[in-house]
Amino acid sequence: MNSADQNVDVDDGHRWALAIAGSNDGVWDWNLTTGEVFFSDRWKSMLGYGHDEVGHTVDEWSSRVHPDDLGWVMEEVGRHLRGDTELYQTEHRVRHKDGHYLWILDRGRRQVDEKGQAVRMTGFHTDVTERRQAQESVQDLNLELSTILNLSPDGFVAFDRKGCVKYVNPAFVHMTGLVDLQVQNLTEDAFFNVLALQCNEHSRVGDVTYLRSNLTGASQQRRSLLELLQPVGRILMVRQQHSDASSISKILCFRDVTYETEVDRLKSEFISTAAHELRSPLASIYGFAEALLTQKTNAATRKEFLGIIHQQSQTMTHLLNEMLDLARIEARRRSDFVYVRVPVQSLVKSVLSGFKESEGRLPVVLSPIPDDLYVKVDYQKASQVLVNVLSNAYKYSPDGGVVQVDIESLRTPGRKPEVGIHITDVGMGMTHAQAARVFERFYRAHPCSKIPGTGLGMSIVKEIMTLLDGRIDIQSEPGKGTRVSLIFPCS
């Protein structure tokens, strides 16, 4: 028995009543001899009850304690009653009359008789729901943040106030191949030295030295590129953010921009090739126009020169149109495609009726078409594909010969039913290596100035067929001819 136990004088009438009335806490007073419990009005109102709605047994409290809390709370009560603790104190949930739970800070102390037996226990309920909720929302926020950091495709490295690595997220580990243990607690210099081992030190894009001078130098750029070699080649965009937080001084963010960088490179390559292709017809237009202006020419020569200028202007127009076509298809992808289910028969026949074969050439020979074949395509785009392939068939068989179109229902094991439209010529043909390159931008297997062409027609065919979920097959032999098969999924 300790002295504090005896000195508690809760029975001292007047002070006791004042304390109860003035406090926002609810008071309880448990007579262990009779089992009777006194609950103050505030104790009851805290839980939503009136003066007469709560009885005088300990059940009034224990039956309202959250089932998950009851066990351990009762153990604490027992420990205190046995004298194991100086004070009884728990935070547990108690059910309100409405059914929701309040977080209650419960504090109490026992009184003992001269034999040291607990005879009475008295205490207070304090409503700490708001504080608990605030704590929980901070915990939730922490959980949310760590989930975001864990799932983020961007890599993050946080430095603490001493300038050492405090945290790296999984995306950073994945991108760089550096694991937590390798970089944890490293100083900034040491961190960058480790990072440098993963980088291309001869990079034209950016190495660690370049990155650091950009981030810390006088220019203080907010972002800089870094080229990794390990674990695989990647281009990263690195950004730096200083922080006023008490635990973090700055954060580095690493974004994988390998794909974007490659797209940019291809775009600029396309533009420079396109400019090059436009210079050729322009050279004829400019040169012959100058010749007409500065040289003495007879009528026949003038006519010849004007004819060349006219024809080269057409070539340029054609080139520009095809470049724009290609750019439009690439930019809009499927968004301006209007898919309709059409019989293959009507698609092919309408294309052929609008198609003008080269002068002096026989019209396309069309073999009988099964009439129950349907495809789901953008009508105009599918027609463009057919026209491009048909005009190639005529252009690259300058010595004549029949251009034939066959339609075939294809059943390949492991594939859905397909329709093949085969366009066959008996022209110049291509080697295997040439055929493999026909979808390259501006590539021409026969870059002969007598046959007009931009080298973009088959690129367009390829782009459209991909967007129509179709494929292309090319069989070709030099001097024998070419068969292009446009294969569409059946609908």
Binding site: S280, Y286, I308, S449
Partner: protein
Amino acid sequence: MSQILIVDDHSDIRRLLSVTLGKDFSIAEAEDGMAALEVIRRLPPQLVLLDVMMPGEVDGLAVLDAIKSDPKTKSILVAMITARGQAMDSEEARRRGADAYFVKPFSPLQVVTWVRDKLK
């Protein structure tokens, strides 16, 4: 009369140059690198107007190298005519020994002026 070889896969460009230069010089034409080397071997010209990008195994730069590396043909003047307009390309050609570099579209008058000046 000085002999000039015009090498370009575009027949229009060959026609333009031969019309422009034909009054003052004797003209030979070739439509690719192989044909050009053949002409140079048989009947070496004083000057070659040479397209850089041509189909086939031998492009313009290869022809340039062949001319400038052979003591018998080294003195032949070579002007590159090309659709590649970047500074890097012209430096590359000059480093390999080209005497002039014209970018398409070019002025035929400028080419004539340069040729006349060189073959005076």
